[in-house]
């Protein structure tokens, strides 16, 4: 393969995987901004979404319906998770809350083994998946779906938080919690919404990646970790920066894998995390004032 086409190829796959990380990373940022919790079960919502969609499709439920059902169920699971695990501990310290989310993540993985076993499964592509030739590089339609759906979801999130009344109320809660309460806004309700929405984003990520790299009970761990790195690049509070971070990681990984060896691709992301944490603990794109909410 000539160099430019290989380059384009790696960019394609980097963008595809980056769009998955972006969805999950936004979930991290939303949850952290509103509840102050780092939710390490975020990646496992992706796994749940993927596994549920695969199950529904194998039950001959039409794919579109199956996907919507899966997302709906994961949103519900996210909501239940918030009510039963986060809400009762809302006054606990951050480490305690993180441990709770790690515990829930392990529990979800365990449950997934019981239900779906340890064998990898896969979801058929959303549409016919005949490769498209772009400058001698191969582009799979599923990649277009992946990038397209995540871009649409991210735009929808932007619309939700900036244009809808309830979204503005959530934003108000992030900006000034005590003033928001004085308006009658219930922070606990906002925290419920934010975790449920983040779970939904995770589910979407899992479902669009499943036809490309399959699904296993443990896929959430790596997706969650990479998305966390992306979120940290965004200083945990800056959504656009987290999205850029997610695509950076995706592309970095695909180049490491393509030009070097796949063994190092995970290591590279975590090296990036350490670099960011050492040298720019407020994130790559932190403003000089660095007001943390």
């Amino acid at each position: 393969m000539e160099l430019t086409s290989q380059f384009i190829q790696l960019i394609f796959s980097g963008l595809t995987i980056g769009s998955i990380y972006a969805l999950v990373a936004i979930g991290f940022v939303i949850t952290y901004n509103i509840t102050g919790v780092l939710n390490f079960a975020q990646g496992d919502f992706a796994m749940l979404g993927a596994m549920l969609a695969i199950t529904f499709v194998s039950m001959d439920i039409p794919m579109g319906l199956g996907i919507i059902l899966s997302i709906g169920i994961v949103v519900l699971v996210g909501g239940i998770f918030e009510r039963t695990a986060i809400y009762p501990a809302r006054n606990a310290s951050l480490p305690t809350l993180i441990i709770i989310t790690l515990g829930v993540a392990i529990a979800i993985r365990g449950l997934a083994i019981l239900i779906w076993g340890t064998q990898p499964r896969s979801l058929p592509p959303f549409t016919e998946n005949n490769p498209i030739n772009v400058l001698n590089a191969v582009l799979l339609p599923q990649s277009i779906w992946a990038v397209g759906i995540s871009v649409v979801s991210l735009i929808a999130m932007h619309y939700f938080f900036n244009k809808t009344f309830i979204g503005k109320a959530v934003t108000a809660c992030v900006v000034n919690r005590s003033a928001a309460r004085l308006m009658g806004i219930k922070p606990e309700w906002m925290s419920f919404i934010s975790i449920a929405v983040s779970a939904g984003l995770g589910a979407i990520a899992g479902i669009i990646i499943a036809p490309i790299s399959g699904a296993t009970y443990e896929m959430g761990l790596m997706i969650g970790m990479k998305a966390f790195v992306a979120a940290v690049i965004g200083g945990l509070t800056n959504a656009p920066a987290a999205i850029i971070g997610a695509f950076m990681i995706g592309i970095l990984e695909s180049f490491t894998e393509g030009l070097w060896t796949s063994g190092y691709k995970d290591a590279i992301s975590f090296a990036l995390l350490l670099l960011v944490l050492f040298f720019m603990p407020n994130g790559l794109f932190a403003k000089a004032t660095g007001k943390r909410v």
Binding site: F165, K168, V175, S178, A179, A180, L182, G184
Partner: protein
Amino acid sequence: MLQVKDVHTYHGFLHVLKGISFELNKGEIFAIVGSNGAGKSTLLGTIAGIYQQREGSITYEGEDIGKQKVEAIVKKGICLVPERRQIFDALSVKDNMMLGAYHRYRHSKRTLQKDIDRCYELFPKLKTMEDRPGGLLSGGEQQMLAIARGLMSNPKLMMLDEPSLGLAPLIVKDIMNILDQLREEFGTTIILVEQNVKAALKVADRACVMERGEIAIEGESKALMKDPRVRDAYLGGKSQSIPV
């Protein structure tokens, strides 16, 4: 409409309110003045439900609201315009005002614009900057926005914590006029906490002086204006006594 009876509030171990009692009639403007740290903000916060009193009771229109949460109290028509304005600085002026109506949004979506226009009549300047982020407003503009946001909740009892803080005398006068107007037009009852004692006593019907968590003096504001203790300590009286 409001009875505060022997209220004690603590911040942790700190005994801040040491038995506060007063009553408020409908349509009245009641001013609370007093030195820094006297507990004025804590008193408003306790009425608004931010802080829980440990002893005593707060009755609003015949109902005990002492143990209720902030969100429930807002719904009853009690609104606190907090100290230092607390604008949502990332949100536009208009969004700030809309969120003021959060607790009644579902029932009054259609009339909301009318209420916003009503606020713009009171504060014409806000209309010209309705799309600007609240954080970019000047102090005075933010204070107007904070009051407008409070009004959007349709309060029957409005509590303002130092609305004149850091504002030019002319704007302070404007704000006091608007409070008077609110009372005249809508019968809004107002509790006004102020460092600007002169302005507060001028607009208020009754007033009290808080000292170290207790009400030291209470009465008609006209009488307070003549009270030597108030004159000396807060109105720049002749004698050099230190405020107790």
